[in-house]
């Protein structure tokens, strides 16, 4: 068994390529940096419902024109190095992220920050940090964005000696950390494990777990065996059958949380068949939602046919489509379509491939042939970014705790021309989003009133369901299996990443 | 006339093949005294197999049977491997036909001779080495020290054959079966080697089975000759009488040889007769000595 003050987690963490919060965009990486760094505002892992709360920023003020936010920094907080956390550091961290222009920097730049103006628009003034926006954005959007990892506060003085050229210390921070978070980085062996050590001087109290070890264990069966033998405390990638298997053990419990990841089907509008509205409509009825939810996706994906995931402001629970081959057939026949062949490129991940195969079977019943091509992640992404995937089946994960994170990519496509190379999902599916819908999406970012904003998102989703060739199918449910004695586990819910600082282990 | 050293009656060697059982030696009988017994016959007539079966060296799935096979009055037929090992080397030894393949390629020649010697005498290392060098010198190897440390591939076929002889004679066997021991030797060295064996037979009373192709040589070197054909002995003669042999097969073999001293226009050719395979022949034991 594992020691009382050590938390051992089995997870798939082979995608981490950097510890630099300005660059990191992969789930596992952010899962780590979330615990190394603090942000100006953050969630309380023991009360996620409450939304963002003050963290390094003790309080903030929004100007009347909603275009300036002034944060007051918390006093007496120290970085791991012992340096005090200053507004200066916070300003430098945000400027750095914008100027480096890597990873998820768009979370910041969407507010009009550019490398040229960021020194002007993000400024430290004593213990105050002042951020100027180009539009009167809903302040909840701005603050939600600041909970993202890219907005972490970095110890400027520690990093400066390691700066090489104009890399803002990117190289050094890739493998080291300079944060003020509850844990320090003890070791990172890629594809093997990451070790965190508790930070005794943490402003919010030293975590109960003196060490957190995240081990890379690829196979679900291996994770399960490790858990059953008590060699790990938490196993994060059990397959549905393995979850069923361990559930019966009385030493193990399953913690279930919805996650901000959608499994969706993108129908490329460059494809002649797929751009036919009848086909788009019919496809929505050719997915065996319940069948999959009840079988190989059991417990880990739930049907969710909207672009804003459950757990976010304005999330919708309307799931109007059902598996109805007859209906689909009728729609197709009415449009004069009796046959056709379409290709899909899916990543070689069992869930996706199984979804594709199930779709293949039901499409066959409607006279449509689906050719499945499995590829590696990099290849699929490559093809998708080149708009060469007729039917895309895969996931989208949210980037920050605001509905705009998904709406801006699913429903915004500023220019559908093939040369511009946008990264929005709408563009990748060659879908020229109607002007009107795009306007609504923009407007929602500026709506200051939370209730109104929520309604706007519900409306957008309603319209989206009706017309969009991008079809959300399922939302991810996180099933983390752990020893019964692990308490207060929180993997970040739908909106954030895993937190270790509140975890305790009982007898 | 003393008791024969080796007594063999109705020896049979059988091999299974794709087409059924094949008898390669079919009822060979002979006695060996302290003499030079030549065995001649054409290739494949079973000479080597006869020699090997005495030492129990026929590899499975080959089978050996005999009515009697006695060494000094003791049966050596169907001995256990352990008992057979006691006979090999120290009582009966054999010089293999092909020196190229009969020496272990990765052991020095010295080591191989020493091994043979120590196995049967239990002598110490230094003594064995001395003996080995003596033996090498005895078989007319010019530089015994060098050859002692050499590997088989470093010596010629002729030397290999002499080394084999040295190795097999080192333990002083009572009987030596020499399977074409001089075929790879140039005519010149051949005489020396024959002299050694000759001396052993005469001085120590060793029994020698001398297997050869060369009728002239056998008639000059041996005391008695068995002529084999198709796995059987067709005739047994005193060597000096070889040229007066009666059996048409023996005669045929003799006549087919070209001779330096008696040129012929056309060589006589052996006309094989089916009857030779199975006809009754009477063999006298213990031969014409």
């Amino acid at each position: 068994d594992t020691p009382k003050d050590v938390l051992v987690v089995a997870d798939q963490i082979d995608d981490i390529i950097t510890m630099d919060t300005a660059q990191s965009s992969e789930f596992s990486g952010i899962n780590i940096t979330n615990n190394l760094y603090d942000r100006l505002v953050d969630f309380d892992p023991l009360d996620m419902e409450a939304g963002f709360k003050p963290a390094l920023a003790e309080s903030w003020e929004v100007s009347d024109d909603h275009k300036t936010i002034t944060f007051k920094m918390r006093d007496g907080v120290k970085f791991h190095s012992g340096n005090p956390v200053r507004a200066e550091d916070a300003a430098w961290s945000l400027q750095r992220a914008v100027k480096l222009d890597k990873g998820l920097s768009f979370i910041l730049t969407q507010f009009g920050l550019t490398p040229d103006n960021v020194d002007e628009n993000v400024k430290a003034d004593g213990d105050k940090l002042i951020i100027k926006l180009d539009q009167p954005y809903a302040y909840s959007l701005v603050l939600n964005s600041l909970t993202a990892s890219v907005a972490s506060v970095i110890d400027k003085e520690t990093v400066l000696p390691h700066v090489e050229g104009d890399d803002f210390g990117n190289k050094w921070l890739g493998q080291n950390e300079a944060g003020s978070g509850p844990f320090t980085l003890a070791a990172w062996k890629p594809n093997e494990q990451v070790q965190l050590a508790s930070f005794a001087g943490y402003w919010n109290g030293e975590p109960a777990m003196k060490r957190v070890i995240v081990r890379h264990v690829q196979e679900s069966s291996a994770q399960r065996l490790l858990l059953e033998q008590g060699d790990v405390d938490v196993a994060r990638n059990l397959s549905p059958t393995d979850v069923e298997g361990v559930e019966t053990k009385d030493t193990v419990k399953i913690v279930t949380e919805p996650r901000g990841r959608l499994l969706y089907m993108g129908l490329n509008q460059n494809d002649k068949l797929l751009s036919n509205p009848a086909v788009i409509e019919a496809m929505k009825y050719l997915v065996d939602y319940k069948g999959m939810e009840g079988s190989f996706l059991k417990g880990q994906w739930k049907v969710h046919q909207n672009i804003v995931p459950t757990g976010y402001l304005g999330a919708s629970d309307d799931n109007p489509w059902t598996y109805d081959v007859e209906k689909a057939k009728k729609i197709l026949n009415d449009a004069g379509i009796t046959s056709g062949t379409i290709k899909t490129v899916v990543r070689d991940i069992a869930d996706y491939v199984n979804v594709a195969q199930t779709l293949q079977a039901s499409m066959a019943q409607a006279g449509l042939t689906l050719e499945i091509q499995q590829m590696t992640g990099a290849q699929v992404l490559d093809a998708y970014r080149a708009r060469q995937v007729p039917i895309f089946i895969g996931e989208w994960g949210t980037d920050y705790a605001d509905p705009n994170t998904n709406v801006s990519t699913f429903a915004i496509n500023p220019n559908n021309s093939p040369d511009v190379k946008h990264s929005e999902l709408a563009w990748r599916n060659a879908w020229a989003v109607p002007e009107d819908l795009q306007k609504k999406a923009m407007a929602a970012t500026l709506e200051g009133d939370a209730d109104k904003r929520k309604q706007e998102y519900l409306d957008i989703q309603q319209e989206y369901r009706d017309i969009a060739p991008i079809v959300p199918l399922f939302q991810k449910i996180g099933q983390d299996a752990m020893q019964k004695n692990v308490d207060h586990w929180n993997s970040g819910g739908a909106v954030a990443s895993v937190y270790y600082r509140q975890v305790t282990k009982g007898e | 006339m003393s008791e024969p050293l080796l007594k063999v009656r109705n020896l049979k060697v059988t091999f299974p093949t794709r087409t059924g059982l094949v008898d390669v030696v079919r009822g060979v009988s002979f006695d060996l005294g302290r003499e030079r017994l030549g065995v001649v016959g054409e290739s494949g007539s079973g000479k080597s197999m006869t020699g090997r079966s005495v030492l129990g060296l026929i590899r499975p799935p080959g089978k050996v049977s005999a009515d009697k096979m006695e060494l000094d009055g003791q049966s050596i037929l169907n001995l256990s491997p352990r008992e057979m090992r006691k006979i090999r080397g120290r009582k009966i030894s054999m010089v293999m036909q092909d020196p190229k393949f009969s020496l272990n390629p990765v052991m020095t020649i010295g080591a191989q001779i020493i091994e043979a010697y120590r196995q049967s005498t239990g002598a110490g290392r230094t003594e064995a080495k001395r003996k080995a060098l003596d033996m090498l010198a005895a078989v007319q190897i010019r530089d015994p020290e060098r050859v002692f440390n050499a590997y088989p591939h470093e010596v010629s076929g002729g030397m290999g054959q002499r080394i084999m002889i040295a190795m097999m004679l080192a333990p002083d066997p009572e009987i030596l079966i020499a399977d074409e021991p001089t075929s790879a030797l140039d005519v010149s060295v051949r005489a020396e080697v024959l002299n050694i064996m000759d001396r052993l037979v005469r001085d120590r009373g060793m029994g020698l089975i001398f297997i050869s192709h060369d009728l002239n040589l056998v008639s000059q070197f041996c005391d008695r000759v068995l002529i084999m054909y198709a796995g059987r002995v067709v005739e047994t003669l005193a060597a000096k009488d070889l040229h007066q042999a009666q059996h048409p097969y023996t005669r045929g073999l003799l006549n087919s040889l070209p001779r330096l001293d008696q040129p012929v226009e056309r060589l006589a050719v052996l006309e094989r007769q089916e009857s030779w395979r199975d006809e009754e022949i009477e063999t006298q034991f213990p031969g014409g000595l």
Partner: protein, 302 residues
Amino acid sequence: MSEMTRREWLLSDAPQTRRQARLGALYQGWLTFRRNKLAMLGLIILILLVLTAIFAPLLSPYSPYAQNLGDRLKPPSAAHWLGTDSLGRDILSRLIWGSRTTLFIVGTVALIAPILGLFIGTVAGFAGGWVDQVLMRVTDIFLAFPKLILALAFVAAMGPGIGNAVLALALTSWPPYARLARAETLTIRRADFIAAARLQGAGPFRLLIRHIWPLCMSSMIVRVALDMAGIILSAAGLGFLGLGAQPPLAEWGAMISDGRSFIMDYWWVAAMPGLAIFIVSLAFNLLGDGLRDVLDPKGAKE
């Protein structure tokens, strides 16, 4: 001559026609082979495999693609003799259809790799000099290159799919054959019968193809038969990494790889195709052992 049985005719020491000679040689080989019971067992299994592949539509109780999500991961029963997989497909039917894929893999690799290797190896061994040097360096490079990486690169470049996977396997498995062929060539290129053929005016190409190849063939065939298991398993390995057969095509390796996530609770999903691979590769191994006795002059002498 009319009383001569067919057997006698085949075993005749003095065949009258080219055909009789060739058939006779084959028959003799067959007789040797037949004595090896285990090899016969291997042969029978392989014949059954071929028959299964041919008659797959007749033999399989269900369509290999028919899904039934409500009926997934069912243990072996009267309805599904070998159970069902994660999409509720009948494992037996998928195994039966998968035999076609397996045969395809085995057949293609066995055709390409040894021939490529034979060609390169014999040319190198026969030509000697710098040709030998160059070809052997190339062989060394390919031998030293991690095989899986090479195969992955190839599949990545050509696009995934069973055809490309098989090609990739073939392209990565020729070097050992080249070495074998070269070694063999070196031992025979100085043989008298090669010299004799040269004296008849035979050019290098004729010597290579008519004289050297036939002699390398037997050790090649033996080696290929013994490598078959490895080939099936390598294909399964590619399948494990998602680069083999594309869904929903039934392929044994991919089936095991799918089944591994259920191995704890639904053992049969992976075990059944595993067993199939095991039996077939065992059969190839036994066959290879038997062929060694027939073809390999060294092994044949008892």
